[in-house]
Amino acid sequence: MDDVKSQLRLDENEAYEETEDTGYHPKAFNEFERWFKRQTTIHGRRDLKDLLFKMLLSVVVIIVCMPFFMVLIQVGTVGMGVLLGSGPGQGLDFFLSTPGPGLQGGVLNAIAGTAYLVGIAMLVGVPLSLFGAIYITEYTRPGFMRSSVEFAADVLAGIPSIVFGAFGFTFLVIYLRIGMGMLAGGLTLAFMMIPTVLRTTQEALRQVPMSLREASLALGATKWTTTWKITIRAAFPGIITGVLLAMGRVMGETAPLIFTSGNNLGLPTSVTGPGSWVASMPYTVWSYISDPRNYVNDKAQATALTLMGMVLLIDLIANFISRKVTRRLV
């Protein structure tokens, strides 16, 4: 026991000498080793329990993280097989050709469709919810009305995506007679985006210190100048993060699109009417995986891999912005 203790103390003293010993003990590893020793030094029953509890929890963490890698490996191996292959609709062809006869081609229709749908959703949903949130946070007084609007937005954000699909189908497609297609699909996605973006924008604006606004107003700026030049600029990283996260979420949604955007094995030819039906990546994954043909199933996984890559990329960018840019600005 004493041995370990003295070893521990020695390690701590060695920190100075370690600097000469270049490269052999990387700092992170040395720190980890010391941390590990501190964790495993046992003095009695309570320490043993302590250690066992920690070991249990580390096993739990491994279990929690495992599904991520299992999904990644499964989708990645099959998907990469298609993306790197050289058959029909494989390799670069996978991104650049439409399915064609027997679904042997690529999934250009799905990628383009997702781009159209997300584009429409962003075009409609983001300005509405962003400016709406700015008005609600900056221009209205807190009170019953405001908190009930916030509660309604929270409730709507918690409603399942298929309910939005049912709403979009019944209200937009049937009652308003827009018809299925990219307009109805994009609007449904926009409706899904509104509550989330509204709430995250509000949250970002609330984080801006009051003193910034007061300073600007005290210098004689109008409310508009203050809001536009000071408040929004300070809250910008938070707002962008919220928008990107909502975009990533909307990109992977299947259920709202089943009844609103239709499906299409080619590219859409018009904005309204039957020519505007579009495929989307999640919908393609769904319909391809229930196909009995093997190569179609593989394409489903490759599409899933592409979709996952895009969503994770957006997520990483959002993360990067919220971490790096926030620190610089505030």
Binding site: E31, F53, K54, L56, L57, V60, V61, V64, C65, P67, F68, M70, Q74, V75, S129, F131, G132, I134, Y135, Y139, V149, F151, A152, V155, G158, I159, P160, S161, I162, V163, F164, G165, F167, F169, T170, F191, I194, T222, K223, W224, T227, W228, L245, R249, G252, T254, A255, F259, P282, V285, W286, I289, A300, Q301, A304, M308, L312, I314, D315, N319
Partner: protein
């Protein structure tokens, strides 16, 4: 017309809140008058200010209008079934779903959703809270950010990808490995929840994939709650001689209980509303499951599967919207409960 008291209110009006109807009407009138006055006289910076406010006001009204529209539309669409003799509010407790014979009992789906959800919560909550405790209390810094990134990425993966994985990996595993192993082992074969034949699609697959999808939410929100516990609490406990795990269990965890409760409720809401992954692996059969291998039909699946056929039949469609209404009521319930728990926690824990 030169009313200059538009910006600064008269002192008694500022102090006294407009309680009575007459006061309210008066203040509304006054604000409209001010609005017109401003629109006519504002110049330069003031005009930009005015137009900017107007430009923000319209999106605010539209987005609030859309939110209210969606919520009331569900109510409006489900009224036919709730008022007709075939349906009525009693459909929540009836178990026969047969639109061809005008029987619209939605209890099967509610039961299916709840079984799936509770199985998922039972798996995800202990694991998630354990991982969150490890992450915020014991984890070395270098590992911390890695695990946090992984958890965030897990939350970002679309549900269809999880569904795909479950359909391709989990379902065959349950069908060919798990079910035969459990049912042939004399230690577990007698258990009623392992009974019945399995084709892989069923309650267990749905519950497990839901649990996997809930984990990131539970971990992230509980981790936030644990991290917001003041450092002084931990230091006090450690100074009294408690080990780090004792501190974590009895001090930090109990201080963070409200946040963790909110995490559980939020994930409950997400679990009930999950659509695609569950649709793909639960088997979708109109029965109440008695064993883990039995197929179930959840609320979101019935809407997905039947809305396409139902839209020409008013009652049928309305019954589906009644299911959606139940989902909305649950969302209201969960959101409200989470808010109440957080508020209660802030009051009793004395934090901020």
């Amino acid at each position: 017309m030169d009313r200059t008291n538009c910006n600064d209110k008269s002192p008694d009006e500022a102090v006294r809140r407009p309680n009575r109807l007459r006061d309210r009407i008066h203040s509304l009138k006054n604000s409209i008058r001010c609005f017109i006055h401003e629109a006519r006289t504002a110049r330069g910076g003031a005009r930009v200010d005015f137009l900017g406010r107007l430009g923000l006001f319209i999106p605010a009204v539209v987005s609030i209008g859309i939110i209210i529209l969606v919520l009331t539309f569900l109510w409006y669409e489900s009224t036919p079934i709730l008022t007709s003799p075939e349906g009525g509010p009693g459909i929540i407790f009836e178990t026969t779903w047969d639109p061809n014979r005008d029987m619209y009992g939605i209890a099967v789906f509610i039961a299916g959703s709840f079984m799936c959800t509770f199985l998922a919560i039972g798996i995800a909550v202990p694991l998630g809270i354990g991982a969150a405790i490890f992450l915020s209390e014991f984890c070395p810094h270098t590992l911390q950010s890695v695990i946090r990134t992984i958890v965030e990425m897990m939350a970002a993966i679309p549900s269809i990808v999880y569904g795909l994985w479950a359909y391709v990996v989990l379902v065959p595993f349950i069908k060919y490995e798990f079910a035969p192993a459990v049912q042939s082992n004399p230690l577990t074969a007698w258990m009623p929840w392992f009974g019945g034949s399995s084709n892989g699609l069923g309650l267990l697959a749905g519950g497990v994939i839901l649990a996997i999808m809930l984990l990131p939410t539970v971990v992230a929100v509980s981790d936030d709650a644990l991290r917001s516990v003041p450092k002084s609490y931990r230091e006090a406990s450690l100074a009294l001689g408690a080990t780090t795990s004792e501190t974590a269990r009895s001090v930090v965890l109990s201080a963070a209980i409200p946040g963790i409760g909110a995490a559980v409720i939020l994930s409950l809401g997400r679990a009930v509303g999950e659509t695609m992954a569950v649709l793909m692996v639960t088997g979708n059969s109109l029965q109440i499951a008695y064993s883990l291998f039995d197929p179930v039909y959840v609320m979101t699946s019935i809407i997905t599967n039947q809305l396409g056929y139902a839209y020409t039949f008013d009652l049928w469609r309305s019954a589906l919207f009644a299911v959606a209404l139940v989902l909305m009521l649950m969302s209201i319930l969960f959101t409200g409960a989470a808010k109440l728990i957080v508020k209660w926690g802030m009051k009793t824990r004395g934090m901020e």
